[in-house]
């Protein structure tokens, strides 16, 4: 597990670094919201899930999708808008989904996915399965009414869902203290949901906290809320690489880097093993890049394919 968690955070980190390069080179159009710095959250949460569980993700979603086991080549191809992409190039960075792995999609509307995950988890339980859903969102999402409504539904109906708040200190440029009155866990507790603050830079701590929430959920005891305190090392979105926005100091960013999840977990792995993992990851990402770059662009004539699931009534 130690090694696996390291591999996951390392994979996400290197994926993101490469993706940023592809944004710079123009292979990825529209930019991305880098997950760099927050890798431990995705890694820890997803390590606590079973294959039959489901997740929803966010605009900053690559980490969640990779930690859940999606093929990096297909995720990268998605970011490049290729036919072999997870969503056949139709979704891009903010909508990456892999229903085969229970990834019900990243969502570009902050706060929207919590209620979707709650509905999915409820439905699975109704169908007699012991599925648990994990739904990721940021500190900014804590101010979206529709997410707060979802807490209520999940608590009332004891839905097996883990609410994972990645508190990275900012919603774009808005500091959490200026945006969230009261406390983040206090909000969840107000709905009767057990809520815990976890060190979101440490994958093992995240895993442990998630695992106990998952146990509760599977035992029919309803939702758990985790506030994972973390830090976004890079830009809100790659557009910020061009437009410098002044909302945090370079000192603050350096301090953030001092608790790098890749280093924290890496320190737990023997040097040789770590090197082996790094090499394996690099090879995987080399192959992924090759595969994505070599993948066909979708045919513009099929631009509206999949628009309707029951297209037969359309005319």
């Amino acid at each position: 597990m130690t090694r696996d968690l390291y591999r996951t955070v390392r994979l996400i980190r290197r994926f993101e670094e490469r993706a940023i390069e592809f944004v710079r080179s123009g292979e990825i159009v529209g930019g991305i919201h880098p997950y760099i710095g927050q890798e431990a959250v995705a890694a820890g949460v997803c390590a606590a899930l079973r294959p039959s569980d489901v997740i929803t993700s966010t605009h900053r979603g690559h980490g969640h999708v990779l930690a859940r086991g999606a093929d990096p080549a297909r995720l990268l191809a998605e970011l490049m808008g290729r036919e072999s992409g997870l969503n056949k190039g139709r979704g891009g960075s903010m909508h990456a989904a892999d229903f085969g792995l229970g990834i019900l999609g990243a969502n570009a509307i902050v706060g929207a996915a919590g209620s979707i995950a709650t509905g999915a988890a409820w439905a699975h339980r109704r169908q007699g399965r012991d599925t648990v859903a994990a739904t990721f969102f940021g500190d900014g999402a804590m101010n979206e009414g529709m997410l707060l409504e979802a807490f209520n539904l999940a608590a009332l109906w004891r839905v097996p869902v883990i609410f994972v708040c990645e508190n990275n200190g900012y919603a774009t440029t808005m500091p959490v203290a200026s945006a969230v009155a009261g406390s983040i866990t206090g909000r969840a507790r107000a709905f009767g949901i057990p809520a815990f603050t976890v060190d979101g830079q440490d994958p093992e701590k995240v895993l442990a906290a998630t695992a106990s929430g998952v146990d509760r959920a599977r035992a029919g005891k309803g939702p758990t809320f985790l506030e994972c305190t973390t830090y976004r090392f890079d830009a809100h979105h790659t557009f910020e690489h061009r437009t410098r926005l002044t909302y945090r100091s370079t000192e603050e960013v350096s301090a953030g880097w001092s608790r790098d999840p890749v280093e924290i977990q890496g320190a737990r792995v023997a040097a040789a093993e770590r090197a082996a993992v790094d090499a394996e990851v690099e090879a995987l990402l080399d192959a992924a890049a090759g595969s994505a770059l070599g993948s066909a662009h979708p045919d513009p004539a099929a631009a509206l394919e999949y628009l309707y699931a029951s297209p037969e009534v359309m005319r």
Binding site: S115, A120, R126
Partner: protein, 323 residues
């Protein structure tokens, strides 16, 4: 056997739930069936399939999307039409978009029903909207049945359809009763209109409760030698363009009566399609709510902003004179 429109909707829900265990209902006060739409269904199907929700429209609309992604077929009752404004993002930007955005990995078969859309006498400004054109514009399948048989048949088809579908049941239609043999109730395909009354001088396109008005105007005008064809598209989106143009090819004159606002409403679409595809003997007309209409409370004022029979008669005379 007399069957009311509201009872037909209720029957459609019951049949759909009996047919398919994936169908379940959620909404406000649906267990006691405050609107009567869900009468008897709690007893028949149990609380697991008839969920009373807190007043959390946004979350429960997305909840339904999530349940649909997991294989269910949720049907949501919305008590008042303006609740659809409140969940517009959840329908237009979430439920509608999942299929394409995921490259066809999933489907979202949710049905949204508003039993009592449009003006409900005395409910005033915030409870009297008829926003079907909005859903048509964003491309969500949308139906507005006019008769008990269509209420049954379109609701069943909406539930069976793999995409989100909004079903508007106009308050002016809920009380309509028709003599029907229950055995004749069948699904009505989405996207197929019907000629509610054939005629040769002018096509009147009408939806929902206004179909009745159009039929009675047609009756009245037949007395003065005017032959009105009433075309009921039934589905607002996708529009039955073939049915419409076939009718217009015959009559070459068009009036649309539509309970939504004029600008970029359903009637605008019918006129646009007709202008693109048909030849006319006189300019077409729209009889609609005025632009930006907010329904005033006082009854006479409320009525004054709704499209009615008098306006329809005037418009029909106008298109006939101009030829």
């Amino acid at each position: 056997m007399k069957l009311s429109y509201l009872k037909a909707l209720n029957r459609a829900l019951g049949d759909a739930m009996a047919d398919d265990p994936a169908v379940f209902l959620l909404g406000e006060d649906i267990r006691v069936a405050a609107s009567s739409l869900t009468a008897g269904l709690l007893g028949r199907f149990g609380p697991d399939r008839v969920l009373d929700t807190p007043l959390s429209e946004q979350a429960f609309t997305n909840f339904a999307t999530g349940a649909a992604l997991a294989g269910m077929r949720p049907v949501i009752e919305f008590q008042i039409p303006s609740l659809l404004f409140l969940v517009f993002e959840q329908i237009a930007n979430q439920a509608h978009k999942f299929s394409l955005m995921t490259g066809g990995q999933c489907k979202v078969p949710v049905t949204y029903v508003v039993p009592g859309s449009g003006s409900r006498t005395g409910w005033a400004g915030q409870h009297s909207d008829h926003p079907y054109s909005l859903f048509a514009h964003v491309g969500v399948k949308t139906v507005v049945p006019a008769t008990p048989a269509d209420a049954y048949g379109l609701l069943v088809s909406a539930i069976r359809d793999d995409d989100p579908v909004v079903v508007f049941a106009p308050s002016g239609a809920l009380g309509i009763r028709d003599d029907l043999d229950f055995g004749t109730l069948v699904p009505v395909p989405l996207g197929v209109g019907r000629v509610a009354r054939p005629g040769s001088d002018v096509t009147v396109v009408a939806l929902g409760h206004l179909v009745q008005d159009a039929l009675s105007v047609a009756d009245e005008l037949s007395g003065v030698g005017i032959s009105v064809e009433v075309f009921d598209p039934r589905t607002v989106y996708p529009l039955d363009v073939d049915g419409l143009t076939t009718s217009l090819a015959r009559t070459r004159r068009l009036v649309v009566i539509d309970d939504s606002n004029r600008t970029s409403g359903f009637a605008a679409e019918v006129l646009a399609v007709a202008a693109e595809r048909c030849e006319f003997d006189s300019p077409p007309r729209r009889v609609t709510r005025p632009d930006g209409a907010v329904l005033p409370f006082a009854l006479a004022l409320d009525r004054a902003v709704q499209p009615g029979r008098d306006h329809l008669v005037t418009a029909i005379h106008a298109v006939l004179e101009k030829s």
